[in-house]
């Protein structure tokens, strides 16, 4: 009897403690900050002025604009809807408007938003804002972005209300999320690696926040560090593996990767979707040394010049005569007009298939999505452009498209696994969900 009482008693105490701890987290008792007290001191007008120009570059490399300006909307006034599995989050106004933007934000508040994920009044931000990555930014760079944004035109545009379902509309719950997913440390340069490698690491992790898309998420929707940059599926498309192995498989060497990030088009294909926007708003403006650094880091070499040769073209894989007959006919009838009978493409019109990344990915998803839904006309940096690709959702049935995928992937991508009609069917269904 007594023993039982002790068990109950202990369990009760543990529960009370757990509850108290949860309440404490909920109200922010365990928030970890990496923001130092030196930023409590406001920047002087002269300092701001001096910093703003560099801030423009940092903000570009960190791609702030892409989310904080809605298509057709006022610059920096937010409004871009970001779709999450829990509802829609709208990017906020970060122009220096005093009422709707960050005009009244102090330097310290801005630092805390960028690096701790906490808003002006202490409420947690949603991690759609990549503060987990920006946390690694140096205080100097955060100052520069602050100075730059404060030098922009104030835009009196009210923020839109997020459309999130319960319980995700309770911001405080994010404190639990932060506890598990927000790393306590900041960016650490490694002494045993070159300056270029370290800079690349900083550009990739802190500014470019590449991992936000290219690192898969864990059950908590935090970045799964054990699969760092190994690729993830976002809004139906795969953000491919951009580790050294992944990049080699796609046919890159470090210089061609740097070039791809700058131009958006290369023998490996053209950037589309979200990555097109990244090039459009951010990487095309990166300095050559930053592009090189990023490529050196991703290929894990200290000097981009020392990077290995690009891998050879994968060997074609045999497919069954039946699949080949169906696919070859489809290819000649519907694809070859632009991509060439031998997959050679037409310059400035359609990219070649022979060296295309999408055919080399293990998962056929990106290929299938592209054929089903097409690609809009894209204006790449400089004077390069590619024509729109039609959608073929109603021109090809599941079997025809599966055969086409199997054959093209085998022929040019060296992929031996057959794509099945049910793969196509699933993707079609996904688009309707």
């Amino acid at each position: 009897m007594k023993k039982r009482f002790v068990v109950f008693y202990t369990a009760g105490v543990v529960l009370i403690f757990m509850f108290a701890a949860a309440v404490a987290v909920f109200f922010g008792a365990f928030q970890s900050s990496v923001v130092g007290s030196e930023v409590e001191e406001p920047l002087l007008p002269d300092e701001r002025k001096a910093l703003a120009e560099r801030g423009a570059y940092v903000a570009t490399a960190a791609d702030c604009y892409a989310c904080h300006t809605a298509p057709g909307g006022a610059p920096w006034a937010g409004g871009l809807p970001i779709e999450t599995p829990f509802g829609i989050i709208y990017a906020t106004n970060i122009s220096p408007d005093k009422e709707h933007g960050i005009g009244e934000w102090t330097r310290a508040e801005f630092h805390r938003a960028m690096r701790d994920g906490v808003g002006k009044h202490g409420a947690p931000l949603y991690p759609a804002m990549p503060y987990v990555s920006y946390r690694k930014m140096t205080p100097e760079d955060v100052d520069a972005v602050y100075a730059y944004l404060m030098s922009r035109e104030p835009m009196p545009v009210a923020d839109k209300t997020n459309e999130l379902t319960f319980p995700f509309n309770m911001r405080r719950l994010l404190r639990f999320w932060n506890l598990l997913n927000l790393p306590g440390d900041t960016f650490q340069a490694r002494d045993d690696r070159s300056e270029q490698w370290n800079r690349g690491h900083y550009v990739v992790d802190a500014l470019g926040h590449c991992g936000e898309c290219h690192t898969p998420r864990n059950v908590m929707m935090g970045m799964k560090e054990s699969a760092y940059l190994q690729g993830a599926v976002l809004e139906g498309m795969e953000a491919p593996d951009v580790t050294r192995e992944g990049l080699l498989r796609m046919g890159f060497d470090a210089p061609s990767l740097a070039h791809f990030m700058q131009r958006g088009v290369s023998a490996q294909g053209g950037m589309t979707g979200d990555m097109f926007e990244v090039v459009h708003f951010s990487t095309q403006y990166m300095r050559q040394e930053d592009l090189d650094a990023m490529a050196a880091y991703l290929f894990d070499v200290d000097d981009i010049a020392a990077a290995e040769e690009p891998p050879p073209q994968p060997e074609p894989v045999e497919v069954s005569a039946e699949i080949a007959a169906s696919a070859r006919g489809t290819y000649l009838n519907l694809c070859s007009g632009c991509h060439g009978a031998s997959g050679e493409g037409i310059p400035h019109v359609a990219v070649p298939m022979t060296t295309n990344i999408t055919l080399r990915l293990e998962d056929p998803r990106n290929f299938l999505q592209t054929v089903l839904h097409g690609i809009p006309e894209l204006d790449f940096p400089g004077v390069e452009r590619m024509q729109p690709m039609p959608d073929f959702a109603d021109k090809l049935d599941d079997q025809e498209l599966a055969d086409l995928a199997t054959w093209m992937r085998a022929r040019w991508g060296g992929q031996g696994s057959d794509v099945s009609p049910s793969d196509v069917e699933n993707l079609r269904r996904e688009a309707h969900d």
Binding site: R328, G329, N333, L334, G337, C338, I346, Q387, P390
Partner: protein, 181 residues
Amino acid sequence: MTRATKPMSLTVNDRQVGPVAVPEGLMMQDFLHEYLNLTGARMGCGQGICHACTVVVEEEDGTLAEMRTCIVGAHWFEGRRVRTIEGIAERDTDGAVTDLSPVQQAFIEHFSFQCGYCTPGFVIGATVLLDRLQREPVSREDLEEVITEALDKHICRCTGYIRYLEAVRDVALKTPGLVTS
């Protein structure tokens, strides 16, 4: 890739064509021009952009669809029913045009075109649109937008497009059942 020929048959402007040996990968436009001497589907860009080269595909369920012939292989049309610009007007048994289609007539009345290079494509596009409106009528206030959206992809280098739009709108309004009040 070797270009073998393959027999194909199809129906063009209600006329049975083939079987005829056609190289695999030959684009439909070349087939129409070189094999059937139907040169009305114009070569504009050859890249699927301008839509000067389109033809009507008469689907089995009776609906009409628009296809670009410059980027679609002839063999894709195997067994299908195709209507080119030459088959839009009514003709007598000698092949002389007796009656223009309402779309063609309206384009003339509205002075919709100048050089006329894009016109076959616009006729095809408008014909397919009117066919759709028969099944899915639109409200009066949406009409202009629907026309613009449907014909937007057709490029014309001469005119301001507005006369094409006005012509199609006129036909849509005059034809019973296409526009709900």
